[in-house]
Amino acid sequence: MHSDATLVTGNTALGTDALFDAVYARLKAMAAKELNRREHATLDTTALVHELYLRIGKQPELTFAHPAQFFAYAARAMRHLLADRARDRLRLRAGGDLARITLTGSDMQLAIESSEQALALDAALERLAQTDARAAQVLELHYFAGLTVKQIAETLQLATSTVDRDWRFARAFLKDALEA
C-alpha cells in the first residue's frame, strides 16, 4: 500500500516519510477515538481532517510547505486507515471465534462486503493513479479528505472546470473498475 506515486506538489515519496507517519498516526488515533466514543459513531471526514490540520499546525516540528501538502497527506492517511480497517474485518472473518460471536448475520454481511469493496476501491485508485495521477489525486482529496471542488481547485491551483473533469473521469474509472 505504500505507493510510489509522487504528489503533484511534492517530491518526497510517501511511506518513507516521517512526516507522513506522524500524520497518519495522529489521524488514526483521532479516528479511533472518534469511533470508539459511541456505538454508532459517525466519522466526519472533513471535520477530522480540519481538526487534524489545526492540531498539527500547533506543533512546530511538523511543518507543511503548503496546505495542499497537508491535505494530500491527510487524505492519503485516511485512505490507509480505511484500508487497514477493511483488511482487519476480512481477517476476522477468517478468524473464527471472535467474529462468529460478535456480529450477527446481516451486519457481518454488510461489513464484509463493505470491506471487500473498500479494498477494491483502494486497488482501483492505485490503477487510476498510474493512468492519470492528477485525477486520482482529485478523487482522493474529495473522497478521503472531504474537500469540495472549489477547495480542491484552490489547493491544486487548478480551474474548477478542470477539477470537474478530473472528477468525472475518476468516478467513471472507479465505477467501471468496481463493477467489473
Binding site: 505504500h2 498516526a25 456505538e39 466519522l43 478468524g95 471472535l98 485525477a135 472531504g146 473521469f169 468496481l178
Partner: protein, 953 residues
Amino acid sequence: MPRRETALIEQTPGPDAMSDSATPTLRSLFEACTDLPPDARAAYLAAHCADAALRARVERLLYADAGEALPFPPDAAAAARAIGVRAAEVDLPPGTRIGPFEIDRLLGEGGSSTVFRATRDSAGVRQQVALKILSRGVYSSDSQRQFRRERQALAQLTHPGIARLIEGGVTSGGVAYIALELVDGLPITTYARHWHSGLRERLQLFVQVCRAVEAAHRALIVHRDLKPSNVFVAADGSVKLLDFGIAKLLETQNDDDHTRLPMCTPAYAAPEQLTNDSVTTATDVYALGVLLGELLTGRRLRDAQLAPSAQILANAEAGVLPDTPAATRRALRGDLDNIVTKAIAPEPERRYASAGALAEDIERQLCGKPVAAHPPSAWYRTRKFVRRHRGGVAMTAVFLLALVGALGLALWQADVAKQQARNAERQAARANATKDFLIRVFRASDPRIAQDKPRGQVTAKELLDLSTPAIERDFAADPDTEIELLGVAASIYRELDDPARYRALHGKQVERARASYGELHPSIIQGLIDDADHANDRNDYDEAFALLQQADPLIRRAGLDRSALRARWYLARSHVMRKDDSAANANDDALDSAVKLYAEIAPQDPGYVSALTSMGFRTQREIDPVAAEPWFRRAIAAAEASPQHDDARLQQLTWPGLAASLEYQGKYAESEDAYRHSAELARKTYGEAHSTYWVPAAEFASLVHRSGDRARAQALFDALFKVIPQPWDADSYDDYAREFYAACLVAEGRAREAIPLLEASLKTYIAKPSVEYELRRIRLTLGDAYDLAGRSDDARTLLKSSLDERIAKDPPQGGTVRVARERWGRFLLAHGDPAGAEEQFRLVLAQEQGRHLSTFALAHGGLASVHLARGDMTAALDESRRAVESFAQVTGRRDVRSGPYLWLIHAEALRRSGAVAEARTWAQRALDASRRYDAPEAASIKLAQAALQQPAS
C-alpha cells in the same frame, strides 16, 4: 488483463494531452465522447480508435459515467461506517471463553483494546484477572512469535507496584489476549480528589509510582503510556501501575503492511514521542512529571515556561488541589515547582535521569518538612517490639532492632537538623556519638566478647540497664538525642512493667527537656499525652482529662497546634468518657479534629489509623453502617501506608469493623474475607497463643456458622480452643471465644450444652470493669438459651431485662433494641400472650422503612404466628409471605437458620389456607436446610418433620 498491458494502454503523461489521435488515450477519448451527444459517440469512437480493446474500455467508462449511482459509499466516512465501528467488535458477552479464561463483564474500552474482567478456574482455585483483548488480530507466525517474546519479557516484571502480567496468548482464531492482575481501585487523580488527599499524601503516593517505574526501567521495560488511568490506587492506599509495556506489546502486533501506531495519550506524550517515536526511560519520566503536575495543580502542564504553582486556578474543584489554591501555590513555590519543571523539560537530557532520581527528590521534600510534621514516635515503635516478647525471654536481636530504630530516629532528626544546621561540627559529633553508643550496645550482646553470662541470656531488661547510663554519658552534649533516647528507654521499662525505672527515666527526660527547652519541648508534651492514653486505658477518665488539660496550653504555646502532637491530643481527648452532659459532643468534635489534622499533617502516624477506625465505629453506631465502610477502608489504607504497617494492633478493630459494615450491607462473602483477614493478621503478629488472636478468630468462626456451615465452624472453634490455655489470663477480656461458640450452639439447637458455657462467661464478665456492652449481649443470648431449653422463668427474667436495658441505654433507632424486642415478642407468643407478642412485633416493624433486615423478617413471621393462633388465615398468609420474601433479600447480620424457621411458619399458613402441596414444598425445604444447618437432635428438624406429616387440614 495483465497489468503491464493495461499500463501501456492507460499510461498518460498528463490529462491535458487531449492531443492528436496518434496516441489516443483513454482519458482523451473519454472526454471527447462526453462532450458529444450519446448517439454520436459510437461513430466517433469508430473513427478515432482503432484498438478494439481500448474502444471497449471507453464504452464501459461511458456506461459507468452515465449511471447515477455509485457502487461505493459516497465518502470515506460512510465507507468506514459500513465496515464497522471497530475492526474487532469486542462486545463479548459474559461467559465467552478466550483461551483459559471466561469473560465476566466489560470493564473498559480503549483505542486498541478492550478490557474485561475474567476468571479462570484451575485446580480448584478461582483466579480473577483483567483480560485485555486486542482489537487487532494476530495472524502471521512472525507476529505471534514476537508477541510471545515480548509477553515473556513483561511477565518477568514482578513488583508490588505493578499490576502483574499473568499470561497472554493468541487463540486459534487469532485473538490476542493479555491477562493482567485485576486491580480494584481508582485512578490516582480520582483517588486523591475523592479522599481530598493532602500534599503529603499525594507526594507519598507519587513516590510509590516512581519506584514502580524505576523497577521496570531496571528491567529495561518502558511503560510508554503513563497517565492517571494507568496508575491506580487500591483501597489500601497502595499504588499499582497498569499496562506496563503493553503499549509496546500492542505495537508489535501490527503486521508488515500496517504503519506503526504510537500508542500515546497526547497530553502525556513527551515531545520526542510524538515526532520521531523514540521512546526511552526519559519518556516515562516526562509522563511522571505531567502526572505530578496534575496531582499538585489539577492541570496537565505542558508549558515549561510558566511555573506549575502559577498555573493553579483559583476556582479549582473541591479535592482537586491538595489544599486551598492559595496554600497550594505557597507550598509548591520553590522546590516542588522546580521538580515538576525539571521532569517535563522538553529535551530528554534535561529531565531527571531516572524515575528513581525523581523519587529521591520528592522524598527529600517529604523529609525536609519541619519537625511539626512529627516523625513516627520512637517510643511507639519500640513498644510494639517489646509487647511481642513480654515474657522476658532473651530477645536480644529484637531489642537491638528496637533500639536501632529509636536511634535511627535520632539520626533522622540529625539529618533534618542538618538542613537547618549552622554548626556542621555539632552534627558530626552527634553522628559519632550515636554510632559509639550503638556499638556499645551491640557489644553487650556480642558473644565474641567474654562476659559473665553465657551468650543469649542477656534479657531485654538487663540490656536496657546496661545501656541507659551510657545514654546520659554519651549524649550529654547532645540534648536532643539524649532526650529522645531517655524517652525510649523509659517507655520500654513501662512495657516491661517496671514502673519505678520508668518514672525515674521519664523524670530525667522531662528534666533534660525542661532544662534545654523549657516547658514547651515536644517530648514533655508527648509524655503528658502518653500518660493520658494510659489513664484512658485504665478507665481513669478524670486523670486523663486533667493531663490533657495540662497539655493543651503547652501545645499552643509551643506553636504545635498544627502538628501530629496536637492530633494525638485530639485523639486522646476523644477517648475520655466522662459523665458530662456535653461529653459526647466534645468527644465527637475531638475525633473529627483528630481525623482532619492527621490527614493533613501526618497520614502516616499510627494515630491516624486509630482515629479513622474510631470514626468508623461512630458512623456505624450513629449514622449508618454503610457509611462506615469507607472509614474503615481509609483506616486500613492509612495503616498500610504507615511504616508501622505490620502492627496488627492498629487493625484489630479496623478489620472487624469493616467486616461488620460489609455484613450489614449483605456482602457476606466480602465480610467473611474481612473477618478472616483480621484473624490471620492477628495470628501472624501475635501468634496463636495470644488473646489478641482469639477474638477475631472467634468472630470469623461465628460468621461461618451464621452462614450455615456448621462443620467448618466447629472445626474453626475446635482449633481455636486448642490454643487457648485453660484457665487463661484473668486480665484478658477475651471470653468472646467461649461466648461466641456458645451462641453458635444455641443457634444450631444445642441450647442445653450452651448454657453452662454462657453462664461461666457471664460470671467472668461481671468480674471486670467496663464490659457493659458484653454483658448486655450475653444476657440476651443466655435468655434465648434458657427459653429453648425450657427454663421459662429464667428466660423471662433475662429476656425482659435485656430489652429494658437496651431501651434505656442504646439508641432507640438502633438494631440492638429491635433484636431484643423481637426475641421478647417470640417469648410472649410461645408463652400464651399473643396480644403482648403482637405489640412487640409491631413496634419492631414500625422502624422497617422498607429494609430487609433479619429482625424485620422475623417480626413478620411472628405476626404470622399470632394470626395463626387467632385463626385469621388471610392475615397470617400475608405476613408469612412477607416474612419469607423479606428474608430472601436480607442484608445485615443474619443467621441463615432464620430461613427454615420462617419457611415453616409460611408452610403452616399455606397448609391451613388449603394450599397443601405448596405447604409441603416449603416444609421440605425447611427440613433439608435444617438438616444441613443444625445438630441432628435439633428441634427445628423435628418441627419440620412434623410439618411434613401433617394431614390435609
